[in-house]
Symmetry: C2
């Protein structure tokens, strides 16, 4: 395996990010493997110890309980290595369970979706849904290794692949240099064709952007890591408004467009960045008009924003862009939110 | 309140330890208070938000679930302050719940037993019992404040007070200087009479010893913090063998005597430290002969040691003393364990 990054995160813990080649053991060194039925195929001759049903519905304490009790029954100790292999849900839960098993066992994560490769896996956030809210219970517990195996993306559905692309495009806007943005502008065919080398480079550039934010604010307490929520406040409300009938990354791409247009309208985002971002989104098939909220439905969309509000005791700050790689957190008046989303 | 210590613990988090005077608000700054029926009396005009049944039987996920769902219903955010007030069980659970609420809310802890003041509260260990094992699920999550209110010890039962003294005596042996040891030798009457000023000084000296070990090894990974387990391997097995019909501190005092005598027998512990320690234990009414295991029952005592073995994958190392403040971790042959405990 090729080491891509060594990242210092919450509590000074280090995560090493590796790029695996086909045929390499993705669960190397594991004492205990958690996966879902979809991802088991990448285990080679190994077998999983816990197989959870795929999907957000598994993201609860019952699943954690299953992982913990299996680990205990197998006699795992604090220095045992838990390996999570699968999409974001599996990885979040494996890492959460490991983080509380004997006050912290070892964990290594192998994402098999583009969304989890570029977004959820690196950064130490673990958690489960609780009381109707997403990720309301969890820990900051960086994995000791994250293993990227781009070829696992070949079998991903188009919708899931597209969901990951939404986050990649967001990272392009947040990047302090122009490499990822240009790479995406210049390699549309390779990206859409899921070419191995192109995928590896796109993921590497995307992770570089994420790392530059999370290393400066690993526990999201300084308003720096929060910039990675570009598009997310618009998107969370849309996902909730649509009863989760839209993928996360699809929502994020739409929310990024909404944030960019709002920034441009308010004179915060330069026109050239706005045009270039909307063109890039469009190049990958994300139309900013894809989801317009009917005017007489705005109240229920706006109520969904209230959920984020609850999480932060009253104020919701949107991420807007003063330039490429220059996010600002701003409270938006209701009227600006309305302008951004109604059709 | 008087600040006694500022301690740097897991993840670089700081815990400040305060000594409160009677009449001061022990739940200062709280957004949310967890306590048990016994400790509610120290809340003054405040009321608790969650009241759990006292005792080890509450130390499970159901209680954590109650705390988390109440916190959520009250709209608490990541910057809300959870206050736990009570004995070790309440504090461990409040801190565990806070540590996973939105990936870590703020927590401050107010111990109302001597055992929790000198032992469990400071150091960041949180947790619940799981699958029949103690503290098998939890986190390292140091409280931002620990508030010591010695006058709450006046109403403690003699048995509970004595349990705390067991840990204090253990700290005297582990101390790298002689202050706590001498203080205990010279102040028996004040300690047994629970004189406020004597209690405050005894707790301060005892915490100083604990801090010297935990600051060098906050997550118990280097074998330094493990020294605080002096007497504990002998004790855990005794507690289990006696079906928990003995208090923890009572067991620890007995286990400390067993470790000291074993060390002396093996030529590891100097005779003068051994005699002085056994005399101190005896001064406080802890006879090393209080619990002798009948020879034909040794197998079941020895099996109970196996539980600690499971936790550490095979080897159990006992803490023995090469001198005052000079612990060593040593695997003991079965025969030495037998000599230490059978009657």
């Amino acid at each position: 395996m090729e080491k891509l990054f060594s990242v210092t995160l919450a509590g000074g813990r280090k995560t090493e990010v590796f790029l695996a080649s086909p045929g390499e053991d993705l669960a190397v060194g594991s004492d205990f493997i958690v996966t879902d039925a979809n991802a088991g195929q990448y285990l080679g001759s190994r077998t999983a110890d816990v197989v959870l049903p795929p999907g957000e519905g598994s993201k609860n304490w019952d699943s954690i309980d299953r992982i913990l009790s299996s680990a205990l029954a197998m006699g795992l100790a604090r220095d045992s290595l838990f390996v999570g292999l699968g999409g974001g849900v599996i990885l979040d839960m494996t890492a959460f369970a490991a983080s509380i098993y004997m006050r912290g066992a070892r964990v290594s994560l192998v994402p098999t979706t583009l969304l989890s490769m570029v977004d959820a896996t690196l950064g130490g956030k673990t958690g489960i849904d609780y009381g109707g809210g997403k990720n309301l219970v969890g820990t900051f517990f960086p994995a000791e290794a994250v293993i990227i195996a781009p070829w696992t993306l070949k079998t991903l559905s188009d919708a899931e692949y597209r969901s990951g692309l939404g986050e990649v495009l967001k990272h392009a806007v947040l990047s302090q240099d122009d490499r990822l943005f240009r790479f995406l502008e210049e390699n549309r065919n390779g990206v859409m064709g899921r070419d191995d080398a192109i995928l590896a480079e796109m993921i590497r550039l995307s992770l570089e952007v994420k790392i530059s934010y999370i290393e400066r604010d690993p526990e999201e307490r300084k308003g720096i890591r929060s910039a990675l929520n570009l598009g997310h406040t618009f998107s969370h409300a849309l996902e909730s408004y649509m009863d989760y009938g839209i993928s996360h990354g699809e929502g994020v791409a739409w929310g990024t467009a909404a944030a960019i247009r709002t920034g441009a309208r308010l004179g915060i985002t330069p026109q050239d960045l706005a045009s270039r971002t909307l063109a890039l989104l469009s190049l990958y098939g994300f139309s900013s008009d894809a989801y317009r909220i009917p005017a007489d439905d705005f109240a229920s969309y706006s109520a969904a924003i209230g959920k984020d509000k609850k999480k932060s005791r009253g104020s919701v700050r949107f991420v807007l862009m003063e330039g490429q790689g220059r996010p600002v957190l701003i409270e938006l008046p209701e009227d600006e939110i309305r302008k951004a989303v109604i059709g």
